[in-house]
Amino acid sequence: MALKIVKGSIDRMFDKNLQDLVRGIRNHKEDEAKYISTCIDEIKQELKQDNIAVKANAVCKLTYLQMLGYDVSWAAFNIVEVMSSSKFTYKRIGYLAASQCFHEGTDVIMLTTNQIRKDLSSPNQYDTGVALTGLSCFVTPDLARDLANDIMTLMSHTKPFIRKKAVLIMYKVFLKYPESLRPAFPRLKEKLEDPDPGVQSAAVNVICELARRNPKNYLSLAPLFFKLMTSSTNNWVLIKIIKLFGALTPLEPRLGKKLIEPLTNLIHRFLSSVIAVLISLSSGMPNHSASIQLCVQKLRILIEDSDQNLKYLGLLAMSKILKTHPKSVQSHKDLILQCLDDKDESIRLRALDLLYGMVSKKNLMEIVKKLMVHVDKAEGTTYRDELLTKIIDICSQSNYQYITNFEWYISILVELTRLEGTRHGHLIASQMLDVAIRVKAIRGFAVLQMATLLDNAHMLTGNTQRNGICEVLYAAAWICGEFSDHLEDPLQTLEAMLRPKVATLPGHIQAVYIQNAAKLFATVLRAQEGVPDSQKAQETSQLLIDRLPLFVQSANLEVQERASCVLQLVKYIQKLQQKEVAVAEEVSALFAGELNPVAPKAQKKVPIPEGLDLDAWINEPPSESESEDEKPRAVFSQEEPRHTRPRHTEVDEKELARRREARKQEQANNPFYIKASPSSQKVYPEVPGVEHIPVVQIDLSVPLKVPGMPMSDQYLKMEEERRQKEKEEKKKKEKKKKKEKRGRGRKHESGPESEEDITPAHTVDIVTEEMPEVGSRINFALSNDCPPSLFCRPLADSEKLPVRTHRPTDILKSPVEGAELESVSQEPKKKSKKDKKEKKKDKERKFLSMLLYLRALLSVQVYDIQGNLQDGSQVVVSVIFENKSTSFLKSMEFNVLDSLNSKLQRPDGAGPHDGLSVPFQLPPGVSNEARFVFSVQSIVMPQKLKGTLTFIVKSEESSTHEKLDFKLHFTCTSYLITTPCYSDAYAKLLESGDLKSSSVRLEGVSMSFHHLLARICFHHHFSVVERIDSCASLYSRSIQGHHVCLLVKTADQTVSIDAKCDEPSLLGNVLDEIKQTFSMC
């Protein structure tokens, strides 16, 4: 073996390495292909060797050759071999080659799954990193499916180096295997608040990209991103976030309002974000003219800049604004016209886009003239075609609104036909037809122009490709035929249309030619018959009879059919002509009558036939709506009650405001009211809802043109005024009536005057009541809009952390808890009741250490301490705050004195002694839950942490600052997580011999074995592996992966527990805690 290696390395001395290869290629400039083919032969030899170093070298060279454009797919398997080398040096090269050469069709990718999985879980972070990088390039749906779970685990890797890669690659995985999105999303969201900025920006990147594809699923993240946007200093991240908001604002208009302030700040801060800001602004701001003004001003500066890049971006952003706010862009016409002369095509194209919004009746001709000059100058068909479509777009926009002279437009169109190689012949043709048909006054001019076109058709027929310029002939022929009265010399045109060359045109054009030749023939006949010399008319017929047979033989069915039809007709006419019968009138009658354009809305003008009532019911309507329908619409006051809830009518505005306030507070404090998505609340207790983002009025230096009153408001105001007026008039009338004492039945109808009086109040009411509804729409956007309610639904898979609830005594009575107990105990009812009581006591005692009452004001209660499975060093503590006083509690701040081992996780930037503010306030009698995350280093010992809660008690007349001390007790049990375990795995675990054992005996335990097990499982997070009679094995795992195994036996009120665990002190403490649980019974 050693000899082989030495031999291999000696061989290698003579091998070419990459540098030699590159040098060789450079030295063989003339016969490169030949040189490379010999190199490839060498490489093939090298690949046959066993020495992995030689192989790696060969693969490295292949990667280079692949870049030069040589096919290396034959070496795919060798690449996989090098990838699977245990040496990082070669693995790196293998993965690089794979990322460059593999694509979805590469079949050896299937072989790599296990290798990649192995590398992903390698203890060496660089192995993992290289595997992730490679995977990002060649991930296939199969790989994504198989490896999604592994990558997801890596998202919580201890090294940020791996975390950020794993987060980024998840995006690729989502694309290939969308099912992975839902289970991975909570963790992805967690990464948004990762302490490492690289990981954070990676998560922002991924979520932004995801949101671009399906924004509405991510609306609930808006508050979180808002926070990031206002706090982040990383421009890269900022730009991504702004982009994300650009996608979200169209869905949630209120977001736009909230974004204006921070975005305006950003505009002032740095240039690079300006564009991003502008783009999101322009797409999302409904009617905020001030910010738009600011944008446009800033953009002008950009466009005027000498830097071409800025100019381009300025124009690009301007065109986005143009779509929503054409007026504000129009004032910069001069600048944009200037850009049309730019040397750079990219810039000209952008400027062209903008021109659309610039034109007016005055300047249209001037602008188009300029464009026509460009058309002539333009090289490259793409740009010329772009110009052409733009010219037509500009001219035809809003029904030719800006065209004052159609003769000019027709000549422009005719000029455009001179363009070679355009692909927009059809567009020009349809414009010609449209104008000629709809603008009657122009027909004479148009027909003359078209006749010239037909005459010079040979200039256009050079290009017979689809949509080529020859399409124009279609229009020309039709116009000449249909409006042939305007022709100066119809015979000449007829002759032009029947030239043999026509047969080379596309079929549909020939068909039109023939049809219109017939029309022209009719016109010519009419002109010629009046003349004494009848010979001429016969000559014309002869012309057709001579020329048409060519078309009868056409391969195109349409052409053939029309040609033979017309031919027979002409033959018949000729017969009649020979008998000297006047036929012109009859032939013209064939084409009599004008073809009129039909407007899209023409249907409306069709009178409804008598007796047709579209509103009438076909079947008997349901009785309710019938009565409503039959009400005479004329009586205004009677329509109102439909919107009114009678009880509310008496409520004045103040009362409404008060109620609203109360309801909001109730919602804010009610733990059962689902506000934002529940998962976000879990992990980020401090995240405020969208509602909580402050809307700040900004003072813009730019003068506002339009006062910021939205249209609807104005409308509302008008409506109110109208009603007021009506009411007054009515009152007057009423008075008059009363005076005249002419009250008849009518008075009854308009009876409920009081309702009329409060109409304005109703409108206000409706407006305000809508607000919470809109709010709930964001909150529930996830669950309502996307059927599988992507992220809201709790995860069903085993990864979900089991939530164990320790409830205080008073809540114990709740039916849910009761049911839980019932199911646990199968004892006779009497006993179970007793049991319950005992349990209650036990719980009470257990919580006494945790429950703290202070001056009967506030109870702080640790509701649950829960290890975080995803992160072995985190513990989540849920605390219920209950306000027992009659005052309002606010500004609660939760602080814990950190120990060496356990620390409260504080947001970045907070000092080690700063408290965390509790994200809610407590009205009297209300309780709410908050969660705090602690990082714990060692979990083998139970711990107590001292803490304080400071808060402000606010009563009617005064407010005082109060403090409450408490202790948090982290038992070892709270670090255990119920983990199911199969008996065979359990047996293996015990056999492995890594576990230390310990045992404990409990005397005088009178409960049934079943109940006993249930208690251990419930209180200490174990799961039963196997149970045989009065003997059972239990299993649990700590958050840091320690296995804890128990063997519980019972005999005569004595319970013996033999336990095994890989951490003896943890085991000892857990056993102590179990003992304590039972000693309390």
Partner: protein, 157 residues
């Protein structure tokens, strides 16, 4: 980002990184077309190009063109910034980089790119972190190759 190409003034491809799966034939076609279009542009023109339904952002550094293709909604300036950042990284790593550095150490250039971009998205915005990761990986590589039969790292490559 869809892909990144590095090519010389003579139109020779120096580096290519594709973040979308395409067949070799398609890649070649795109490369040829783009190299032609970009080289035809004059130095004073802007760095953006609308090409098919993509946007091309390119920049010339000495004799090399760096060219990225992004989607319509992507930010052009940040793409320029990415290009610049990559050039800075190469510069730091090779010590005033030149075209030959990239030709002869093209795998290193890829490693740096992979450390900086992943799947077409910026992975690490800190220059220091990228270089640190590369240096450490290089170190690992050198240690390993020393272990192995006493071959110097250069020779193995």
């Amino acid at each position: 980002m869809q892909f990144m190409l590095l090519f010389s003034r003579q139109g020779k491809l120096r580096l290519q990184k594709w973040y979308v799966p395409l067949s070799d034939k398609e890649k070649k076609k795109i490369t040829r077309e783009l190299v032609q279009t970009v080289l035809a542009r004059k130095p004073k023109m802007c760095s953006f190009l609308e090409w098919r339904d993509l946007k091309i952002v390119y920049k010339r550094y000495a004799s090399l063109y760096f060219c990225c293709a992004i989607e319509d909604q992507d930010n052009e300036l940040i793409t320029l910034e990415i290009i610049h950042r990559y050039v800075e990284l190469l510069d730091k790593y090779f010590g005033s980089v030149c075209e030959l550095d990239i030709i002869f150490n093209f795998e290193k250039a890829y490693f740096i790119l992979d450390e900086f971009l992943l799947g077409g998205e910026a992975q690490e915005t800190s220059k220091k972190n990228v270089l640190k990761a590369i240096e450490q990986a290089d170190l690992l590589q050198e240690n390993q190759s020393e272990d192995w039969g006493g071959l110097a790292a250069e020779e193995v490559l």
